[in-house]
């Protein structure tokens, strides 16, 4: 059991973090105080052309130099600083959060169609698998993840989340079940442009992990959710699937449902299931993913976790509980519960 909430403003009007903090703490019962986190799209307008790398350092003497040497080998550090934090009585600071605003040298990966993304992605994978005492947990442009092991309010106050503004926010309150709670295991998980929050467990994790690792992604966070961020990056950025097709690959219709579809639909769905079978996720889950232009929520196909949707003007809300949405926006209109597996997509206006 975990609590999730996300909001997107389709006109990119920004919201500070105070409302989502209030909403997430409505769902404290869904967590155990061992992990909470937030992600804001639009957090760094002054460095919007740079990759914002958020790093947990175990210490800043030896590992910091190692990371910076690698960054300078692949690009240019425009600015870096310790992420401002504010001591909380019950939150033990076990890592030092740092941020780099980084510009890769695209020419170093000339064979790629997305060289800058590939450079950053491979730096993330290299650092996170090297066990150097550094973990890059956020690596997109103009986006920032803020997470730690604690209750939602503690983590929000630790980063003063109300000081950040975003037009898309996701937040998560964790109740770890299969693996221990730790800073890196808190949600949201992020890779490049994609962030994910998740309630449930992915019982197909082994299959999904073997599949995604064959494309060079490496799972390092000791929990199932990170594989969703990598799958979305792979399916959308590398395989060029539209977001709703990507979600259909992850949570496809049952075969007997496909059998009853019109022929064209049957062909498409059969092709998706055959091409991306190992990406299909099983087990109970409710997931919200986002990138800089959209937010997508969906559940497992037999709906073993809750997901509620609310709309108000340009804002779309997706959460585990209606009360959390109402805590953010008491005047929310059109509350609904989407059918299992059906993606709910909010996109920014073009």
């Amino acid at each position: 059991m975990c609590g999730i909430i996300g909001v997107i403003d389709r006109q990119r009007r920004k919201m500070d973090g105070s409302a989502i903090k209030r909403a997430l703490s409505m769902m404290n019962e869904r967590g155990s105080g061992e992990g909470a986190g937030y992600v804001a799209y639009g957090a760094y307008p002054e460095y919007e052309d740079c990759y914002a790398l958020h790093v947990f350092f175990d210490n800043i003497h030896e590992t910091k130099r190692t990371l910076e040497a690698m960054l300078e080998q692949w690009g240019h550090i425009v600015h870096d600083e310790r992420i401002r934090t504010y001591d909380q009585p019950n939150l033990r600071t076990v890592h030092i959060p740092w941020r780099y605003f980084f510009k890769p040298y695209a020419g170093l990966m000339a064979h790629s169609t997305s060289p800058e993304d590939d450079i950053v992605s491979q730096i993330v994978m290299k650092i996170n698998t090297a066990h150097t005492g550094a973990l890059i947990y956020s690596s997109g442009k103009n986006v920032g993840v803020f997470k730690a092991a604690g209750w939602p309010e503690e983590v929000a106050d630790f980063y003063r989340i109300e000081d950040y503004e975003g037009y898309i926010w996701l937040a998560h309150n964790r109740y770890p079940t299969n693996t221990p709670g730790w800073w890196g295991g808190a949600h949201p998980f992020n890779l490049l442009d994609w962030s994910v929050v998740h309630n449930g467990e992915i019982t197909s994790y082994g299959t999904n992990r073997r599949y995604i690792e064959s494309y060079g992604y490496i799972c390092t966070m000791f929990t199932d959710t990170e594989v969703v961020a990598y799958l979305m990056d792979h399916l959308v950025r590398k395989q060029n699937l539209d977001a709703d097709l990507a979600v259909r690959a992850l949570a496809p219709p049952f075969w007997d449902d496909i059998d009853r579809m019109p022929e064209k639909e049957q062909d498409l769905n059969r092709a998706l299931r055959l091409a991306y079978g190992p990406a299909m996720m099983n087990g109970p889950f409710a997931i919200v993913v986002a990138n800089h232009e959209m937010m997508v929520g969906f559940t497992d196909r037999i709906k073993l976790r809750p997901l509620v949707v609310g709309e108000h003007g340009d804002r779309l809300y997706i959460s585990s509980e209606e009360a959390a949405i109402r805590a953010m926006d008491p005047n929310v209109e059109r509350i609904s519960m989407p059918p299992a597996g059906k993606p709910i997509i909010g996109r920014v206006a073009r």
Binding site: M26, D257, I302, K303, E321, E322, A327, A340
Partner: protein, 246 residues
Amino acid sequence: MGKNVTIDAKGMHYTPLNRMIRQAVAEGSEEIVLENVLGQRFIANGLRGEATITVHGVPGGDLCMFMSGPTCVVHGNADHAPGNTMNDGKVVIHGSAGDAVAHSMRGGTVFVRDNIGYRGGIHMKQYDEKRPILVVGKNAQSFLGEYMAGGLLIVLGMDGSTYTGRGVGSGIHGGEIIIRGDVDESLLGVGATKLPLTDDDRMRIAPVIREFAEAFGLDPEPLINAEYTRIIPASSRPFAGKYTWE
């Protein structure tokens, strides 16, 4: 405290809120009105007696869990599992409710005016005079009456919608599910079978539909006379052979 009590639940945690409700009931209150409810779980949890609790707002999960006797009227939507393992009493929701409504319910009545989520009436049960009732005004999602062991579940389809969820009555071994309109054979769960609603059945459920209509100020006659499908267990022991080998 007098016969009527109003509690402003704004920003209140469910523990002190439930303590205040129990205290009010213990002191003889018959009408307890909760204002500004938002997300508080377990409201009226384990409550006994005859009181009426009126909730203004959106309560959290497990509303009226283990409740035995009182009436709870919600002006708003409810979250997951209202009426969870309820023993007696009545829950009336002027709105929709989440997944697992009336989860393991043992007695009493749950009326939901609009829609419910997945697994409504999961594992409802009955024993002697204890016969729980769940009535849904509009419609329900998949796995309705999953593992149902007893009781009565009615889906009225008042909004003109037809039931399209899968796995109705999956593992059902007692009780009955009555759904407006026809339910396609392919939607029936393992162990469930469907029958047309007989005149006797209609006579039997008419009082329940009348009570539902009265709770929400509706005309009961069109609902009583509508077409329904009755779903019951294919056998009382659908999995008798599940773990038995020669």
